[in-house]
């Protein structure tokens, strides 16, 4: 059994295309996820991962991501457009698919959009909160605290340096011999002012005084920059902040003026505070946070925009995924439905070999399996039905053939009186055409006389209650009279319900005619034998009486002679009559040979044309009449009889007799018609016309047509009589055409 899902070529192409599309979408989604992950990783990992081509790579990745999203959008939109197209064209399953997709989109769209809007609002609120004035102010204040701490430390260092410088200048401690005093002063100030480091640099002195905390002994401050030195020796105070070790060193540098010349700088004092790493780190954190905050403030709008874009893409992905899932799910349902619809259509068209090729383990699979099983069962049933029909058809054909070839005419009529079958013999016998009467009620078809006759017969059948009737009836059809043996049988089904009736006709016309002819011949022979013998003595006796007593009776002799003459004449008439009967009874044996029918007929017609010039004899010869097996003498006798009858029927006024010869190739007969426009024959007489001693002529013996019939029967033909239109009679005899002709 072939398994067809749809047109095979299209099916394979479509399946391949769908598979390809599915793979593309899966790969696209996967790539989008991968790209997003990579981009995120790179953002987190920093550019260190991508030293040179970082920008290009990021740019490329983002662009690829955008292309992939566009591709995904294209595929989804393409499917949606296809769905709309299918829906407009009323393709099976499109409505369900639309509904499912709409449901999925709605289900995903509403929460997604809602979430998107809420997220955007929330995000905007959060971002605005991040960059709120309070936070900014707090950060600025914190930074300012750090700045002030630095600044105050520097100012304090400078202040202590200035005090020390003033003491040195005032007391002239810059002189070499007071070095110990200077050192003691510096140490005391270092201690009392809680400085971390104090340095005194005096020009022209070998050693500088440097006092520092023990814990910072390893810290070596950088020398002043040239510009710093320049400033100091120009008499300006300055503060510096520099990174030393892991901490910051805040220095206040103040010049030392000469006591003798107050504007002359002879050295400088440096008072330093050292901020250890822990403190510096904390300040750095403040600084960095503040910096980042400021920078982020600059990027407030782009950040917001970036988040919105990201959320929007996520929203799109969710919606598209839902749409795609809807399409996918709908396809899983509608494709089998489409296949089922297609299969139903194919099966409706009669293709019971169609099977749906879908393997699924769900309810759809069960449905498809049931459908396939149903198709198989249907096919099996159809095959059985076809076989039964075939058998039935064969039987019907056989019955019809029998019916067609049976010599009896058979007509069947159903329960409603509608004619259902007519066989060929009935057609021929009744001179009807099947297509004109078939499927019509018999009452409509019959002429009133026949309808009445049928009614009588049926009534009689019902009265008898035997379910059938056999009756011989004489009927006059349109152009001839027939004797028919009609058998009507009521048909009942197995349950006894009346289904109509079968009418069987047997044409007894010829048979009856032959029987009658034979009977009459026997009568004629007996008559000839029984009557002829006494006639001669009667005649002879009458002649003898006349001869012996005719002259003796005197006056009565006249009466006597008249009477004897009458006896003699009438006996002569009787003799002639008996001779006629004798001839009828002893017709010469017919010797058949091939002869030209027209020639034979022509001879007879010429004979009459010459003798009866007042009558028009019109001989219409058939052109294609073959030679027939006939006895020319006998046929001439037939023609003489027929023409004699026709002439007699004319009554002598405006007479016209047409003689026609015809060939009926189909029926393989040759016809001779003798038509007159005379007085015609009453319908009731037509049956009896061929019986002996039936004559409408006063002088006729009534044997003419009986002889005609006898001769034609000997020629294996038949004679019939019909009315001529508008008046007169047509006598037709048919002769068979030999097979070789």
């Amino acid at each position: 059994m072939k398994k067809v899902r749809r047109p095979v070529k299209l099916d394979i192409q479509e399946a391949r295309r769908r598979k390809r599309e599915r793979i593309i979408i899966l790969v696209t989604v996967f790539l989008i996820a991968l790209m997003t992950y990579l981009e995120t990783s790179i953002f987190r990992g920093g550019a260190a991962l991508l030293p040179v081509s970082g920008n290009a790579l990021i740019f490329g990745l983002i662009n690829i991501n955008i292309i992939l999203i566009i591709l995904l959008i294209f595929l989804i939109v393409r499917n949606l457009v296809k769905l709309i197209y299918e829906r407009r064209h009323g393709i099976v399953g499109s409505k369900l698919r639309t509904r499912l997709v709409a449901a999925f989109v709605s289900l995903s769209l509403i929460p997604t959009v809602l979430l998107f809007l809420v997220s955007i609002n929330f995000l905007s609120y959060s971002i605005d909160n991040w960059f709120s004035i309070r936070i900014g102010d707090a950060l600025n204040r914190t930074l300012e605290v750090a700045q002030i701490y630095y600044q105050q430390s520097a100012d304090q260092a400078k202040y202590y340096a200035r005090q020390l410088s003033a003491d040195i200048s005032k007391n002239g401690l810059y002189e070499g011999e007071k070095f110990l005093y200077l050192k003691a002063l510096v140490e005391r100030r270092h201690r009392t002012n809680k400085l971390n480091m104090v340095e005194v640099h005096i020009e022209n002195q070998k050693d500088n005084v440097v006092v520092r905390d023990r814990e910072y002994e390893k810290i070596v401050p950088k020398p002043l920059s040239p510009k710093g030195m320049e400033d100091v020796f120009a008499g300006r105070e300055l503060t510096t902040t520099e990174q030393v070790g892991s901490g910051d060193l805040i220095r206040g540098v103040v010049p030392v003026f000469s006591a003798a010349s107050p504007k002359e700088v002879i050295g400088f004092v440096t008072a330093s505070y050292y901020f250890p790493a822990g403190l510096v780190d904390k300040i750095n954190v403040i600084s960095k946070t503040s910096e980042e905050y400021r920078q982020l403030t600059l990027l407030k709008t782009p950040i917001k925009f970036g988040y919105i874009i990201t959320l929007f893409i996520v929203m799109l992905l969710i919606i598209f995924s839902a749409t795609w899932f809807g399409l996918y799910l709908a396809k899983g349902i509608t494709v089998p439905i489409q296949d089922l619809a297609e299969a139903t259509r194919r099966i409706a068209q009669g293709d019971l070999n169609h099977q749906i090729d879908i393997s699924a383990d769900d309810e759809i699979g069960v449905l498809v399996a049931s459908f396939n099983q149903m198709t198989k069962d249907l096919k099996r049933s159809k095959q059985g039905l076809e076989q039964a029909n075939l058998d039935l058809e064969q039987r019907r054909n056989y019955t019809e053939t029998i019916l067609r070839n049976v010599s009896a005419g058979v007509i069947s009529i159903d329960g409603n009186g509608v004619i259902t079958t007519i066989n060929r013999a009935a057609e021929r016998m009744l001179g009807i055409r099947t297509q004109k009467v078939l499927n019509r009620r018999y009452e409509e078809v019959l002429i009133p006389d026949h309808r009445m006759l049928a009614g009588e017969v049926l009534r009689e059948m019902r009265e008898r209650g035997e379910g059938f009737i056999e009756k011989q009836i004489d009927v006059n059809l349109r152009d001839r009279a027939m004797t028919i043996l009609m058998t009507i049988t009521a048909i009942h089904d197995d349950e006894g319900k009346e289904m109509g009736m079968a009418v069987v006709f047997e044409d007894l016309t010829q048979l009856q005619r032959a029987e009658r002819a034979a009977a009459w011949r026997e009568v004629a022979r007996r008559m000839a034998h029984e009557i002829k013998n006494p006639l001669t003595p009667v005649q002879l006796s009458a002649q003898r009486l006349q001869k012996k007593y005719g002259d003796r009776l005197g006056e009565d002799g006249g009466v006597f002679r008249e009477c004897t003459k009458t006896i003699i004449d009438q006996v002569e008439v009787l003799k002639n009559l008996v001779n006629e009967f004798s001839r009828y009874a002893r017709l010469p044996v017919t010797s058949l040979a091939l002869h030209d029918l027209n020639g034979v007929i022509r001879d007879s017609v010429i004979l009459f044309q010459d003798a009866r010039k007042e009558i028009v004899f019109d001989f219409l010869q058939g052109a294609d009449i073959p030679k027939l097996m006939l006895d020319p003498e006998q046929i001439r006798r037939v023609m003489v009889n027929l023409l004699d009858n026709a002439v007699a029927a004319l009554g002598g006024a405006n007479g016209r007799i047409e003689i026609r010869t015809l060939s009926d190739r189909k029926g393989r007969t040759a016809k001779v018609e003798v038509a007159d426009n005379g007085c015609g024959i009453p319908p009731g007489y037509q049956i009896k016309m061929f019986e002996p001693y039936f004559s409408t002529k006063r002088s006729g013996t009534g044997l003419g047509l009986a002889i005609v019939n006898s001769i034609i029967v000997d020629h294996h033909g038949q004679v019939s009589v019909a009315d001529n239109h508008p008046r007169g009679t047509i006598v037709t005899f048919e002769l068979p055409v030999p097979d070789k002709a």
């Binding site: 790179i42 920078q295 970036g306």
Partner: protein, 159 residues
Amino acid sequence: MVRDLMVTNNASHLLVYARVTNCFTKGIEAAILAGVPTTFTFILELFQERSGWLDKKLIRTTLRHTIKYDNVKKLFQVSADGEKEATAFPDFESAKRSMADLNGVPLVPLNALKKNAHYYVRSKVKLDKVRLPLHLEYLFFFASLWDFETDWHREGFAY
């Protein structure tokens, strides 16, 4: 744009002086003050002129000036390639001047130049990708807020 491109020499090297003007837009200044480290890259190229043929590029040098504002100490730290220590400026103007100026950059040893040959130095300056916190510069690649790049400026000389 690059202005005052001047080529001279000392005893051993060819020296280049240059100054960039209009390079500090308001956006860049705001970014610098917000603590964003900002780097100018100076590109210097020395060509030997050749008649009837493409000029020959003898050397290409890039120098980077980076400015970073220390908001605690209120100092602008300007560092250049090749310098160990950043120079701190308490005021922004000095720092900007330091960023925009090239002062006697030794481009090529004199012995690499041919006598009586014609040369030209061309220069341009571009702003490096601004480093944003959280590496947002990669996310906002499309928002070229502070990008700029000058045209080439050319100065010819004969040796």
